[in-house]
Amino acid sequence: MSREAAIAFRHVAKYYPLQNLALAGFKHALLHLPSHLAALWRGERYCALNDVSFEVARGECFGIIGRNGSGKSTTLGLAAGVLKADGGEVEVRGHVSPLLELGAGFHPDLSGRENIILNGVLLGMTRRQVMARVEEIIAFSELGEFIKRPLRTYSSGMIARLGFSVVVHLDPEILLIDEVLAVGDIAFQQKCLAKMESFHSGGTTMVFVSHDLSAVSRICDRVALLQSGRLLAEGPPGQVIGEYTKRIAGG
């Protein structure tokens, strides 16, 4: 790992088992025992990432693009420490704040305020740290009176706003962002992008996964293109996005 790298992937491989005997349940397992055993014997598995190597420098914004199922989310999962690599090495220096699927860990029956505290602690803050920021988070979310109501009364855009507000107040060292701009209205998307740009200029390391190519080219310093679990291209946004659109056009 070079001195300045915040995230380093070295020849990383990740497999998911294709057959799972136990998950299928008793009946299915018994009925399909021969095929299950054969699959186990052959060691059939799905390769989500294969020999992927890249480094993200401290303070850099690194974009990952690619089609559905190309391994983008698996890459983020590995960087977040939620998944473990089956081959190679993943090294992460600094505290990771995952901005994945806004509102993961929120509970519908708790109020907005209760969810802020729960989510803040789950994402790595102590209660004292969350309490000190709770008013700031509520103000940023622009939820007003709704903050006292249970989350199930919120629209999906409001949940996304609350989730984003919690994460951006974590003082993240490394921010992982997965498709957050897909939800919320234009005003909220602009606010997210502006916040991400301010993080960027403030020296936060970011990994940004998105299908919104204009957002990727706007905030990323470097972009990687994944296809079927392999790293196809890596470089300046214009060049890699050009490569990607050419491939899609070419089928």
Partner: protein, 256 residues
């Protein structure tokens, strides 16, 4: 962001526990009553069946049932709830890296909280039967809670982990805990078991525990040998839970 691990872990368990407790009382009309009503209803039915119909010879049989059923209910609820501690938090497990066993810890502590909240009901029945709480409860009850907590937590961690990989477990746990209730001296006393079967009590961790709970609650007596046996089973359960959890934790996010 730097944090002291202890402070963070304490806060993590705290917010998860508060969430569990809040959720139990929100959206239910009867709230607290539910956690007491269940064992009381069972006690009433067993009383009618065994005292009125079968005519079991025992003094204060209703009190006897209640002192056994309340701790049993805590254990059974912990086991049944354990199925969902990991499975029910799948979005969290997939997205955020944090010590996942704290989900189970908070779940079992939630049941401890409800057991503690039901103690006044037991006291009310004691007083009704002309008995009184013993001053020795001050150290006896915390010790018993600790013993049962160790055993429940170890087993709950095992169940929560295994249920991710083997989802039939949920049904099995439901059936098994029900059968276990009948094999444990909850509805009957230890002296009703023929002497040649007394060895069975030693291979049933809950038998010693329930017998001791009854001694503590009804007479303020805590027997040493059952305590040691229970402590042994508690350590065994903790060891089992930790080893199963550690072996499988790295696969959690893929499987939920």
């Amino acid at each position: 962001m730097r944090r002291s691990d202890f402070e963070y872990w304490r806060d993590l368990v705290w917010v998860l526990l508060i969430k569990e407790i809040r959720l139990r009382y929100k959206n239910t009309l009867l709230g607290y009553v539910w956690s007491v009503l269940n064992p009381l209803a069972f006690a009433a039915v067993f009383f009618v069946v065994f005292k009125v119909f079968v005519r079991v010879e025992m003094e204060n049989y209703l009190l006897f049932l209640i002192c056994g059923l309340f701790p049993w209910q805590w254990f059974q609820n912990s086991m049944v709830a354990a199925n969902h501690h990991f499975l029910g938090n799948s979005t969290l497990i997939k997205k955020v890296s944090f010590p996942r066993q704290f989900l189970v810890l908070a779940g079992v502590l939630n049941e401890v909280f409800h057991f503690a909240a039901s103690l006044p009901v037991i006291v009310a029945f004691l007083l009704y039967y002309g008995l009184a709480p013993s001053w020795q409860w001050i150290f006896e009850i915390p010790l018993m809670v600790l013993l049962q907590f160790a055993f429940s937590y170890g087993l709950a961690l095992t169940v929560a982990t295994c249920n991710l990989f083997f989802r039939d477990l949920e049904r099995l746990v439901g059936i098994f805990t029900m059968l276990w209730l009948y094999l444990t001296p909850v509805l009957y006393s230890v002296d009703m078991i023929p002497a040649r079967y007394h060895w069975c009590l030693y291979i049933n961790p809950m038998a010693m525990l329930i017998e001791n709970w009854r001694g503590v609650l009804m007479r303020g007596e805590l027997a040493a040998v059952p305590c040691l046996v229970t402590a042994g089973y508690g350590l065994l359960a903790l060891w089992l839970g930790q080893s199963v959890y550690r072996a499988k934790e790295r696969r959690f996010a893929e499987i939920v």
